[in-house]
Symmetry: D2
Subunit: 304 residues, 4 copies
Amino acid sequence: MNYKLILDEIGFEISSLDDEGVVASYIPELAKISPNKFGIHFYKLGGNNFGIGNNQEKFSIQSISKVLSLCLAFTIEGDNLWKRVGVEPSGNSFNSLFQLEYEKGIPRNPFINAGAIVICDILVSRLENPKNEFLKFIRKIAENDQINSNSQVVKSEKRTGFRNAALINLMKSFGNIENDSDEVLDLYYCICSIEMTCQELAKTFLLFANNGIIPSTKEKIISKSYSKRINAIMQTCGFYDEAGEFSFKVGLPGKSGVGGGIVAIHPKNFSVAVWSPKLNKKGNSVKGIKALELLTTKSELSIF
Amino acid sequence: MNYKLILDEIGFEISSLDDEGVVASYIPELAKISPNKFGIHFYKLGGNNFGIGNNQEKFSIQSISKVLSLCLAFTIEGDNLWKRVGVEPSGNSFNSLFQLEYEKGIPRNPFINAGAIVICDILVSRLENPKNEFLKFIRKIAENDQINSNSQVVKSEKRTGFRNAALINLMKSFGNIENDSDEVLDLYYCICSIEMTCQELAKTFLLFANNGIIPSTKEKIISKSYSKRINAIMQTCGFYDEAGEFSFKVGLPGKSGVGGGIVAIHPKNFSVAVWSPKLNKKGNSVKGIKALELLTTKSELSIF
Amino acid sequence: MNYKLILDEIGFEISSLDDEGVVASYIPELAKISPNKFGIHFYKLGGNNFGIGNNQEKFSIQSISKVLSLCLAFTIEGDNLWKRVGVEPSGNSFNSLFQLEYEKGIPRNPFINAGAIVICDILVSRLENPKNEFLKFIRKIAENDQINSNSQVVKSEKRTGFRNAALINLMKSFGNIENDSDEVLDLYYCICSIEMTCQELAKTFLLFANNGIIPSTKEKIISKSYSKRINAIMQTCGFYDEAGEFSFKVGLPGKSGVGGGIVAIHPKNFSVAVWSPKLNKKGNSVKGIKALELLTTKSELSIF
Amino acid sequence: MNYKLILDEIGFEISSLDDEGVVASYIPELAKISPNKFGIHFYKLGGNNFGIGNNQEKFSIQSISKVLSLCLAFTIEGDNLWKRVGVEPSGNSFNSLFQLEYEKGIPRNPFINAGAIVICDILVSRLENPKNEFLKFIRKIAENDQINSNSQVVKSEKRTGFRNAALINLMKSFGNIENDSDEVLDLYYCICSIEMTCQELAKTFLLFANNGIIPSTKEKIISKSYSKRINAIMQTCGFYDEAGEFSFKVGLPGKSGVGGGIVAIHPKNFSVAVWSPKLNKKGNSVKGIKALELLTTKSELSIF
């Protein structure tokens, strides 16, 4: 299959799309991004990689990095993890307190904010210097020492993160947070503020298309079984309250972020990252979802 | 791969399992089933089929038939369907009124009771004689004229179906039901009371592993795209509030019923049906889930 | 105090009010009422009575009659009643299913729809001919054989009462309804469709200002203690989700109906009924609440 | 009426009651109180006062002081207050986040925790030194310079107050908190930790039975209209999710606290305070409610 040609077609069709959606404004620093950015980058396992548009430009990957923090915590904690966070889709918006209260402080899955905060609490408990070790971990997977967190975005998120403060305090009231709230949220905001380009993101996630092994170095980061399980959680929980829609239209495990990025993988086959800052009402990139829908329609390569 | 051997191993391991779970009691007729039944049947696309245990015994497939009624409605109504029912996981128990009220009478997906009732309303609106035409439809797919609904179970469900009556009336108050409630529920209970053996069920669902085409007759029932979409809904919504867990542990699109049956498929590869009446708290067969977990662990054939 | 003068002042001030609110439209028969009707009638215990405006015109008292059905059931069933219905305000709209589901089919109080339906179920269980006996009961209290239910309104409510059908079926699923749903709803709609004038309504409710005794005949209908308790429920639950606001602004036990009527009493002192069909968003008469607020401000006669 | 005799009878009947309920344990400092304490004190407006049992012993009045902080804020802010907090009963437990989220950060009433926190935010915005001025305010009303907050209880509440931290952060995310969270919660905990004896408490609340005027000094603290409105809020919202029950059984405006205290008033007539630390499931003193029920039954002095 000529993926390069497919990517060019996608770029052409996306460029003629109506300019729907709005850039995330609740994090002031993100609201400054030019809304017209669009990039996509594709990595074939054991093959070529190519991209178009703004595929070499850094953006805030936001919630996408929750897959990486889950991956790190999974390597440390194993299945004990699931005592403190579930694997079910939330059926609610990504930062709802209601369900968390009803379910006594156990978040539905590690990709809603509450769940990602529990993952951070675990990293704070287990690691000497969690921020550094997280950065080291993703730099190794990305094979790239230039991956960093943006401190301006961290500050911006902290100043406005009252709802996350509500979530962590609610979980603390149920006994599901071990460490000091500020320390845990510090790590959380650092993780959310990681910046990557489409190319870097697609390369990083190739791991999950390759049963947990970094393709170039052959280093095994997580077991085949854990890698499949992370893919399964991406499939059912990767898109806030639009996971079913993404699964229905695109049919690949993936994860989105409010910075406008989406990454998706086809097991044993490829990974792809797309970026366009305008979001639909459910918080997912409008053009990003459309681009991936075109990709699986044209290539007929959904997992279903 | 020697699937026959794998099935034998599964049968052996399941037989030594503790006797957890309880038979569904809210439908009196189902409560009479012997709790120790266990059967599994496997169909390789373009290959052999084999089964073990009570794989030739009829049981009430219950919610599993919601996939078949969705399939029929999809062929008639196409994507118009999605104006009246969503494709998102529910994050709630299978018959909750709360979410339905909050979302103004639009059920989250076609596999929760409310969604399946909307599908029945569509069939009542579009078909001359919906019960007969539904039976004809599944007999064609199953290539078997002996598929029937059990009238004792229909009566039993009707007598105790107050919650379904609440659901349909709530949707009617929001304008999402067109026909007389009793007529729609009649069809609903008829559909839920279909009986099949594991072998019949696995054979019937081979369609969804084969892009919408009946393997033996080559008859195209639904388009490739629709077939993939039904698989996607099974993946995210097929197990009530345990879809994430099933995806995490088993990694195949599937659907369960409170009669203790589960069917799952691996696209372009195989279909498998398992039956064991004892259910966990979320309403899914304990041994059924365990058997499928063993199957994908041993065969390494999850879709992830 | 010159109540006649106060009433005249109220009539004058109300007449110059902006024409806010909307007539209830969900019961088609009620939507036909002229929106400009306004009447008020005042009964002093052991004294005069007088009224102004459309105080002699019949209107559909709707939920106001829930006080009378509660009163009848209380005389029959006594405190056993409270096993099947609570006395707490609902904190939700008057026909919410959510709270009813969460609280396992026990309605919060006898004045929300679900609670009034349970009261009807009790009357159907205990009375030979519940409709007749209810009519006899209120005719005795009203000292008026011309009190009737409007059969056109009954029909109109039945045709559109899907939400009430949902409520009763939900309660039946929890075991809190003993009789056939249709029979219970029949009585419910008959009770809601009672028609009275402001004068008749105020006279009828004098009972609750008089410790349960009909003032003219001295007949004791309910005990002093029961009468006080019904007043207490009116105070905390009489105005759907606006009970606190009414208590705050008016400070009298009372009950409203979507026909635009409100009745209120001052224990050992007076009863007053007002009618104006335009409702605020919470379903209570805009001018009715305003008129009663003026009454207690001018007379300084709240219970607080 | 011989109130002294009635009090003695109450004391006798209460002493023979079964020892139901549990002392509040979520605030460690309160858990240390002897569970068998019981005191009651009665103040007749323009008459005598008397008490029995542990009526002279200080206890933590907890939520009862929310009436006093509301009163102070009401004198400063007037009806502007009601833009930021409602007057409706909550229909939920006293610290639920769900309703607060659903209603976009506007608490239902000033007596649930979230509402009392908003009142504190107003005091922090308006007063130079809010803690001192609050203490001065209640000392004036109580005519007693020995009223103080217990700093051990303050510390104990702060250490475990994660749910209150969740509430204030949630409201801040909706823009309904103006000041720094820690400063507002500081004042909140100081207010909750006020200690009084039954006698002091009954004397303090005489104000609300006397139309806002301190009986002995004739100083007008709030207008007659405001005083009635505070009584109305006590009536509908004073007992968490048991306000209807208290209104039904006792029939007086009142307020309870998890320290086991309850104060109630009969307008233009009397005030009464009772203390017994064991609480029912809804967080109200078991013997306290029973004692007040006996009081209104024996004296026939409910407001209804």
